[in-house]
C-alpha cells in the first residue's frame, strides 16, 4: 500500500493524485491502481503523469465506479499500486511533437520533461486537445518549447506534421488515427508513436483482453505496449 500525498481536481471530471512510492516509472508507463477490496473486480490502469525519486503522480478522468472512489480519497489515505507496467515511449530527439486528447494528455508531461532533460537541443512542442475545460496548461508550458491548446475542436487540425521528426500521441483512437493519416497525406516523414488505451483486466500480459491486432501481429497493450508504432496500428 502506498500513501496518498495529494489528490485534487484540476478540471471538471479530472483529478491529479500524487502518491508516495519509490517504484518510479519510465515515460509512458502506467500503474494498476486499486483502493478497495474485491469490488469492483478489476484494478484501474492509470498513466503516469509525473514522477520523481519518491513519488508518482497520476492524472485521471472520473468516468465510473473505480475512478469515483479514487476521486474521494484524501491525503494520508492508502492506495494499492502495482507497477510500473508497459513498455513506455522510446527515447527521441530532433523536432518532436507530442499530441494528446482528453485524459490522453497525461503521459505527455513526463515524456516532455524526460526528452528535454536528455536532449536540451531538441525541440518539444505539445498539442493539447480538450472537449471541455482546459487543464494544467501552465504546467505543460514549463516542460515544452511551445504548447498549443485546442478546446472543443480537433487538435489534429493544429499540427503540421511535416515540421517534425518524431510525433508521439495518446488519446482517443479516432484522434490518433486521424493524426496518422494526416502524416501520410502530407507526406510527413515523422516517425509516429501511439499509446493505446485499451480496456485491461490483469495488466500484466496474461489475460489477452487488451490485445491490439497490429500489422506486426497481436500485441498486448499492457505488456507489449501501450506504446506502439503508428504504422503497426493504423498502417
Amino acid at each position: 500500500m502506498a500513501k496518498i500525498i495529494e489528490n485534487h481536481p484540476v478540471a471538471d471530471d479530472f483529478c491529479l493524485m500524487k502518491v508516495e512510492t519509490d517504484h518510479g516509472a519510465k515515460m509512458g508507463q502506467f500503474y494498476m491502481l486499486r483502493a478497495w477490496g474485491q469490488y469492483p473486480v478489476l484494478s484501474r490502469p492509470i498513466s503516469v503523469f509525473d514522477c520523481d525519486g519518491g513519488t508518482v503522480s497520476f492524472l485521471y478522468k472520473v468516468v465510473g465506479q473505480g475512478t469515483e472512489i479514487f476521486r474521494d480519497l484524501k491525503p494520508g489515505d492508502e492506495i494499492k499500486l502495482d507497477g510500473p507496467h508497459g513498455n513506455g515511449f522510446p527515447d527521441a530527439q530532433g523536432r518532436i511533437a507530442l499530441v494528446g486528447g482528453g485524459v490522453g494528455i497525461a503521459p505527455l508531461y513526463l515524456l516532455a520533461k524526460e526528452l528535454k532533460k536528455a536532449h536540451p537541443d531538441s525541440t518539444v512542442d505539445i498539442y493539447l486537445g480538450f472537449s471541455g475545460q482546459p487543464m494544467l496548461v501552465e504546467e505543460y508550458e514549463k516542460m515544452a518549447d511551445r504548447v498549443s491548446v485546442n478546446v472543443g475542436g480537433f487538435v489534429t487540425d493544429d499540427i503540421d506534421p511535416t515540421q517534425y521528426d518524431v510525433i508521439m500521441t495518446c488519446g482517443p483512437e479516432i484522434m490518433m488515427r486521424v493524426l496518422y493519416k494526416k502524416c501520410l497525406d502530407t507526406g510527413a516523414g515523422a516517425k509516429v508513436y501511439v499509446s493505446m488505451e485499451n480496456r485491461m483486466a490483469c495488466g500484466i500480459g496474461a489475460c489477452l483482453v487488451c490485445t491490439c491486432k497490429t500489422k506486426s501481429g497481436n500485441k498486448r497493450a499492457c505488456k507489449d505496449g501501450p506504446v506502439m508504432e503508428g504504422w503497426e496500428v493504423f498502417g
Binding site: 502495482d82 483486466a201 500480459g205 496474461a206 489475460c207 483482453v209 490485445t211 491486432k213 497481436n218
Partner: protein
C-alpha cells in the same frame, strides 16, 4: 507446508488443491514474475486450438456488478507453438501441468490431441465450453449427446489423462457430466463462464462484437457452486470446481460441495498473488479444525 492439502486427482498428485484457471494466467510466465508459481498445486494453460487464433475484434472485457465479462475468443498461438515454446518449461515445474485444448470442429480437437499425444503433460483439460467463438467449442458442451460424441472420439485417441471442462450453459449439467464419465473422462472441471451480454445504450448496440460474452467472477459463485455440488454427487470421477472463487472460504465451500481441486479465475485480476492467500487460508482452516487431510471434508455437504 504439511500434507494437509495434498490431493490426488485421477492419479495425479497435487501438493495443494489450488490451480489457476485457463485463460487467466497465460502459460504462467507473467505470474511467475510475481511469485514462484511452483507454490501452486497446478496451472491450466491458456486454451489452445490446433491452429493459431487471433481472437475476437472489438471490446474484450466489460466489468459488471461483482463480475467481469470477457470476449477474448480463444486467442492463442496454436498447439504446435505451445509444444515448441512452453510445454517443456511447464513440465519442468513442480506443479501439475494442465493443458487446456479447445476446438472449432471435431477435426481440430482430434488433431490437437494427436499432437499433444507425442509429449508428456499431466492432465489434458478438454474445453467444450468456451462461449466466445462463433463456431465450435461451447456448441459441443450444451447437449449431453453432442458432448458424449466428442468425448468418445477424443478418448479413443487421447493418451493423456482427460478432464472435460463443462459449460454452465449446458441444458442438463448432470446428464452431460454423466455422459462424459461414461465415455471415459478421468475427471471433470466446471464451470466455464456464463453466456452474458451488455448493451451500449448510446450506440444502441451490443458492447461486444460477438454480441454475447462470458461472465465470470464472484457474481457466478453461488450458481457454479450449486452445479459442482450436483455434478460431484452424480458422478464418481473427481471434479475440479471453478467459478468466482475469491477467498479461502469460497474454496472450502467448493471442496465441501464435492470438488477435489479448485481453480482461480477472475480473482487473479484482483491481485495476482491471491492464490497464495487462498492456499494459506485453506491450510489454516484445516489446522484449526484438526483435519489431517482435506479429503476428510470433501463432499461433506
Amino acid at each position: 507446508m504439511s500434507k494437509r492439502l495434498e490431493t490426488v486427482f485421477a492419479g495425479v498428485t497435487f501438493k495443494n488443491p489450488v490451480a489457476l484457471a485457463s485463460g487467466t494466467c497465460g502459460f504462467g510466465r507473467e505470474f511467475n514474475e510475481y511469485f514462484d508459481i511452483q507454490k501452486l498445486g497446478g496451472l491450466c494453460s491458456k486454451g489452445l486450438t490446433l491452429r493459431p487464433c487471433l481472437g475476437n475484434d472489438g471490446i474484450r472485457v466489460w466489468e459488471t456488478a461483482s463480475g467481469v465479462m470477457n470476449s477474448v475468443g480463444m486467442e492463442n498461438p496454436g498447439v504446435q507453438h505451445f509444444i515448441e515454446c512452453d510445454l517443456e518449461r511447464m513440465n519442468a515445474l513442480d506443479l501439475v501441468n494442465i493443458v487446456n485444448l479447445g476446438g472449432h470442429s471435431e477435426e481440430d480437437y482430434l488433431e490437437g490431441v494427436a499432437l499433444l499425444n507425442q509429449h508428456p503433460l499431466d492432465l489434458l483439460e478438454l474445453n467444450i465450453s468456451c462461449p466466445n467463438t462463433k463456431a465450435g467449442c461451447m456448441s459441443f458442451g450444451l447437449q449431453a449427446e453432442v458432448a458424449r460424441d466428442i468425448v468418445r472420439k477424443v478418448r479413443a485417441v487421447c493418451k493423456h489423462k482427460l478432464v472435460v471442462k463443462l459449460s454452465p450453459n449446458a441444458e442438463n449439467i448432470t446428464a452431460l457430466a454423466r455422459a462424459c464419465e461414461e465415455e471415459g473422462a478421468d475427471g471433470l472441471s466446471l464451470t466455464n463462464t456464463y453466456q452474458a451480454m451488455a448493451i451500449d445504450i448510446q450506440r444502441r448496440r451490443p458492447v461486444f462484437d460477438n454480441v454475447y460474452a462470458g461472465l465470470s467472477g464472484p457474481a457466478i459463485k453461488p450458481i457454479s457452486l450449486r452445479m459442482v455440488h450436483q455434478v460431484a454427487h452424480a458422478v464418481s470421477v473427481p471434479v475440479m470446481g471453478i467459478g468466482g472463487i475469491t477467498t479461502w472460504q469460497d474454496a472450502i465451500e467448493f471442496i465441501m460441495a464435492g470438488a477435489s481441486i479448485i481453480q482461480i479465475g477472475a480473482a487473479n485480476f484482483m491481485d495476482p498473488t491471491i492464490a497464495l492467500d487462498i492456499i494459506d487460508g485453506m491450510e489454516r482452516f484445516l489446522e484449526d479444525n484438526h483435519i489431517t487431510n482435506i479429503s476428510e471434508i470433501r463432499g461433506v455437504v
